[in-house]
Symmetry: C2
Subunit: 78 residues, 2 copies
């Protein structure tokens, strides 16, 4: 079952920009596991806003820069 709200993320881009940090390093700094970072980078799920906030802080970016709503065409009910 795919998530209700798809998001696109530029995590990897910003991770590299922020000093070419490794996944493990980022994971440590935000208090998550490498697999969690992996899964987010790969778009397998969207993190909690708490984790997203911490990632944004470490990467020196805004959440809006990091994560973006997928525009789903023709699938909206409004």
């Amino acid at each position: 079952m795919k998530p209700k709200y798809d998001i696109r993320n530029a995590l990897r881009l910003h991770r590299v920009k922020a000093g070419d940090m490794t996944q493990q390093e980022l994971a440590d700094r935000v208090g998550a596991t490498r697999q969690t970072i992996m899964s987010i980078e790969k778009g397998r799920y969207n993190p909690s806003v708490g984790l997203a906030l911490r990632i944004a802080k470490v990467l020196g970016a805004s959440i809006e820069e990091l994560f973006e709503l997928e525009e789903e065409e023709g699938d909206r009910d409004g």
Copy 2:
């Protein structure tokens, strides 16, 4: 078990600001239930960044305005 990283939110404030929308109205517009909105407003858990993004869009605010990391003093390992 309380969440690992507490967040503070100004959801209610912005909900009122954005035309005094009811919880139900906001819930409908973001595709969630009223209870979900309630729980977020009451700080019972932090939503996914996907839902947070949709809320921010509807309320015309940034995620950073809506949700803020709780600064926990003396609980960091680095």
